[in-house]
Point group: C2
Chain length 448, copies 2
């Protein structure tokens, strides 16, 4: 993509309303633009990040055996009256009436709707277990939306719902999602720590939040330092096998959010030099709640003994749009974003230091062709802005690699490459630079 | 994908509420399920079709130089008051109030929001032309939603918006979308005919609808028969060149929807044996409306002479969810859907006639591996249903190819393949069948 044909409305000043670094950087880089309070448009750069996050989430859901569907944003209030949540849910639920004065709502979550779908589609225990998920916009009418996409009102969420015959089988479904979440966050370049958590309005008695540590986190969390280093399950994990030994590696050490924290237990179980007390950002939340929805909504299947039995359910959420902010919180410096390759809006930025010059233009065209053929996403700064501005913009938007083509080095057939994270620069012959970059990017994509 | 692990709630009976064949088949095949009047959940099979259509639309938008963004579903009423459309738009607009009693709405289209984004992001004629598009759920509160996803209330639309300095340049942008639309529909297996159309609430004086002919179409259309045969521009079309000669091939012959129809002109210009009078389904609609939004919303750029000038705009819609229904209307028979390869939920269906038998299971496992390695999407019926039921389901869901593995032919190392569209069957050695199928599917993907 050439910047001269792109839409990249970068801001020079940090907008005053943005309190945290991810919000500041997402506005400055033109990733998003506020449409109304807590509601954002995703501009081209941000849209690319969002899509890449979504795709990683999808791949790991599919790997675990979950099946993708897509439920609508607008739901009927009657459905929520069946579960009893229509009245329970407070002002966070966006309620509305259609032209026929029917009560409707903008879904904040989908337990009711998926239970209805499953109830009407499955009759026998032979069709269990199943896990259905979707990636869809949700709305929660926060009193005071803030922190950009980190606590917006309209947000993109992946929510999965598991259906099992027995509580034991449901725990196995819970464990599958547990592993899928560990892998998802690792692929996004994040170190996530599962922590025992409260269940809130979703219900149930077993729940974990997946937390990443960041100074700007919304809540206080406590955990054993070893958890940060525990190796994430590989891509070859057998999701049909018993995953509980694997889960135990992540749940036997102490880890809890503020609301579940037990100071006495923390001090007893965790050696002083291993005690982490830090701020955390919630990026995922999983729940097992048994028959909380299947009972009132009459979602039953015929068991092996011929008797009808209410299905055991769990639900599993990932804040997809929030993750764009969370990744920036975890990966930036004073100059801007530092995108991990798997979610970078472009994998490299090409800077032509003398756009309009026959030699540099020709070399850049050759590079574009090489990158395109190698399947590398690149952004080419072919504008006539001065060099300082180009460098600053590239650092700000934080593509993992920069390729700098100037008339001077080009006389020797050389170009410069820079790794954004380390700032390391190298001057290399053109073809050598290409093969080094392609190799580095390809291997970074496959992380985890 | 194995059916024993999939969610495919096929219905035996045709639901009474469904009046047209696409609605009937989408319900019977378990592609969608109604959530409320005119609002649907996309179940796994339907979701796959929707995603494939979306991806073709996206690829052709990108090819034409349009840039993808994503605007939110909920918009502020104030924005629509700037253009004057908040009061103009009738009861089709879903209006609501948030918890702070602010007037909001569920976007039926996005001219206002994109104009605001563009106005705040671009200052100079040097940044023109641009075309920004998104693929997002819209809501239009139809009085009487019907025909399933063909006239739903919540629907997925691709809407693009072009920005140019002059009306001439804007016509070039209009032509780019015109070509992109011709290519998009052709890739979806549809013969679309551009027809002069009214502009309605969008405004402007230049507009075309893209119509496909189908007996169940919602409106009467008239055109020259040659238009159905006109060759669609190739993938190598240069979108920077003057496209008007190309467009002329599609606009010089008579074609009009009912509202624009001129019977006298039709009879004068079109020979009797070339007069098509038929029912049509609108799948796309493009508009050029100049400064209708940029004027009231003050979206101006600095021109080459230093003066500020309101940008010339157009907008371009494709009904992505509606297309799933339209494709079925255009491609089905008494037994069910007949999916073109590029949008088929799976490219082939594998039927094991004796699931549980060591030989057929082994052959099917081998086939699955071959198809997976070749990158073919397959659905494997590994259930213990009887053969007749399996055949009927495969015909109903209409995957382009079926592969049938039974113990009898397998004794000779042979399997059967069936092409859904023609019903043609062949018995072939296993490896020969695989290479024939892989070749046929790969070439069908690349259509247009």
């Amino acid at each position: 993509m050439r910047i001269s044909r792109y839409f990249l409305p970068v801001l020079r000043e940090t907008p005053k309303e943005a309190e945290i670094v991810s919000h500041q950087l997402m506005l400055r880089t033109g990733m998003v633009k506020q449409a109304s309070a807590g509601i954002y448009s995703w501009l081209p750069l941000g849209f690319r990040v969002l899509k890449k996050i979504e795709q990683v989430v999808r791949e790991e859901q599919n790997r675990s055996g979950a099946i993708e569907v897509l439920m609508p944003t607008i739901q009927s209030a009657d459905l929520w009256r069946q579960s009893g949540r229509y009245d329970d849910y407070g002002k966070e639920m966006l309620r509305l009436k259609d032209r026929h004065e029917r009560d409707m709502l903008y879904g904040p979550t989908n337990e009711e709707l998926i239970t209805e779908i499953f109830r009407d589609g499955v009759k026998s225990y032979k069709d269990l277990p199943r896990n259905l998920y979707h990636i869809q916009w949700k709305f929660r009418d926060e009193v005071r939306p803030r922190f950009g996409v980190m606590r917006g009102r309209e947000f993109l969420m992946k929510d999965a719902y598991s259906f099992d015959l027995t509580a034991d089988a449901a725990r196995q479904s819970y464990n599958r999602m547990f592993v899928a979440y560990l892998r998802t966050f690792a692929r996004l370049g994040l170190k996530s720590i599962p922590m025992a958590a409260d269940t809130g309005p979703i219900g149930g008695d077993l729940s974990h939040e997946f937390i990443i540590l960041a100074d700007t986190g919304e809540s206080q969390v406590y955990c054993h330092a070893d958890l940060v280093q525990t190796t994430v399950p590989g891509a070859d994990t057998d999701f049909d096998a018993d995953l509980s030994p694997l889960i135990a590696r992540f749940t036997s050490d102490y880890a809890a959010t503020d609301e579940k924290h037990d100071a006495a237990r923390f001090e007893k179980e965790v050696p002083v030099d291993k005690r982490i007390s830090a701020r955390g950002i919630e990026v995922g939340h999983i729940f097992f709640f048994g028959t909380k929805y299947s009972d009132p909504m009459n979602c039953r299947v015929q068991g092996p003994d011929g008797k009808m039995v209410a299905v055991q359910m769990g639900s599993y959420g990932i804040g997809v749009s929030r993750l764009a902010g969370a990744i920036i919180e975890a990966s930036h410096d004073k100059d801007g974003c530092i995108w991990p390759v798997p979610v970078a809006p472009f994998e490299l930025g090409l800077i032509n230091l003398k756009a309009g010059d026959k030699e540099t233009d020709g070399a850049c065209d050759t590079l574009c062709e090489r990158f395109a053929n190698a399947g590398i996403d690149y952004l080419y700064d072919d504008t006539d802005e001065r060099a300082g501005g180009k460098f600053a913009t590239m650092d700000l938007i934080g593509l993992p690699y920069q390729v700098i083509v100037g008339p001077k080095s080009l006389k020797n057939g050389e170009i410069e490459i820079k790794e954004r994270r380390t700032g390391m620069r190298q001057t290399l012959p053109l073809e050598g630079a290409v093969s080094q970059l392609v190799g580095a990017i390809r291997s970074a994509r496959q992380l985890a």
